[in-house]
Amino acid sequence: MTDRALVVAEIPRLRRYARALTGDAARADDLVQDTLERALSRWTLWRAGSNLRAWLFAIMHNLFVNQIKSGQRIEYYGDDAPSEPEMRPTQSDALEVRDLAAALQRLPVEQREVMLLVGLEELSYEEAAKALSVPIGTVMSRLSRGRERLRALLAGTEAAHLKVVK
């Protein structure tokens, strides 16, 4: 009972991360479902008392990367991503949030994952490194590049909105 309750308690965070990672609610829940099924099938590999959340994020990372590799989904890496239709700003907070969701999808996947695990899910750098199976130095450099890239993307959309308003 204990173990299952622990997994259920993690579902909201898994959903939040997957939503931000994929940018699509239905696809995100598919990813969460795959993650839960995979986790239960490998339950004996989880050491009780170790960090369940980081372990679940690691499973999700592997599934997500495999999906992309197998070409199930198209991921955009460059600046040739389709642009969002321009809209007049309505309410600044909603606009900011929408811009962010769109900008995230234009970050390379490995930068997006680090940005979200650290900035949204608040994993420590060590936990993020473990979840992604990379050295901590790689986490730091991806974080640095991701933040710079996101800043540039958001500055770009801001400029675009200003132009529209004028």
């Binding site: 299952r4 579902i11 931000a20 909603a94 962010l100 420590s124 730091m140």
Partner: protein, 253 residues
């Protein structure tokens, strides 16, 4: 100040609040001399805040039943009971989910979210045999001090022995806006109640008692300024109201 060069790695750790306090103070001082770096750090922090604003609403959505099912592929008896309770809650929230849409960026009304979150937290932890609380009633003073610090406002578990319930302890939970406290009580028959306390209402309001029934879990909830309370238990409504009234009287003597 310790003269150590500022590495970019440390600036990120500073922005993410991952530095130990001594070094954090060093960086705070150093950044006063470097407005360019201070601006960069502020921009990174702003990105983290934006991420929360954009996606924290997901935490508040009811969990789709298919995900609950996936998490209990090989249910044990207790898990089955819990999962059934939580799945029921998910179904109950479907209408709200559809109406709010997938990317609802507006805040969910506190009075709609409060009883559901409290009932889920109750279903998860009241069934817990070995670790129902993080800090036990034997450390009550520590419990109150710790939760007050995390919620940013004084909270303390009411004494409910007059209505037959003794404090088991409490725990910290993630709410949609920040930390939330849960106190657990138990009577001599092992019947459990939980009091869920959140301190993050944006506008100060006061409400009368409201009642919500989430499967077998009844919830009395009310707002008091920036605090929201929800008392959950599998009790008859009248019995639960008796306890809720006792809680309310102690909080508002």
């Amino acid at each position: 100040m310790i003269e150590r060069p500022l590495s970019e790695q440390e600036l990120h750790a500073f922005a993410d609040d991952r530095l130990e306090s001594g070094r954090r103070l060093d960086l705070e001082a150093a950044l006063e001399e470097r407005p360019d770096l201070a601006q960069q750090v502020a921009a990174w922090r702003n990105q983290n805040q934006l991420l929360h604003r954009a996606f924290d609403a997901v935490l508040d959505e009811p969990i789709p039943a298919r995900l609950i099912d996936a998490a209990r592929a090989k249910p044990e008896s207790g898990a089955l009971r819990l999962a059934a309770a939580v799945a029921w809650l998910a179904v109950g929230g479907v209408i709200g989910f559809v109406v709010r849409g997938h990317y609802a960026s507006q805040r969910v009304e506190l009075h709609a979210a409060l009883p559901r979150q409290a009932a889920i937290a109750h279903a998860v932890f009241a069934a817990e045999v070995r670790h129902p609380v993080e800090v036990g009633a034997d450390q009550e003073a520590h419990l109150a001090a710790w939760l007050s610090k995390r919620l940013g406002t004084p909270v303390k578990p009411p004494q409910l022995s007059s209505v037959g319930f003794e404090l088991v302890g409490g725990r910290l939970l993630p709410g949609d806006q920040g930390p939330v406290a849960q106190f657990m009580y138990q009577d001599t028959r092992g019947q459990r109640l939980t009091l869920y306390v959140r301190a993050d209402a944006e506008d100060s309001r006061e409400t009368a008692f409201r009642y919500a029934q989430e499967d077998k879990v009844g919830v009395f909830y009310w707002l008091d300024g920036k605090l929201g309370y929800a008392l959950s238990g599998e009790l008859a409504k009248d019995d639960l109201l008796r306890v809720a009234t006792a809680v309310y009287r102690q909080l508002n003597p």
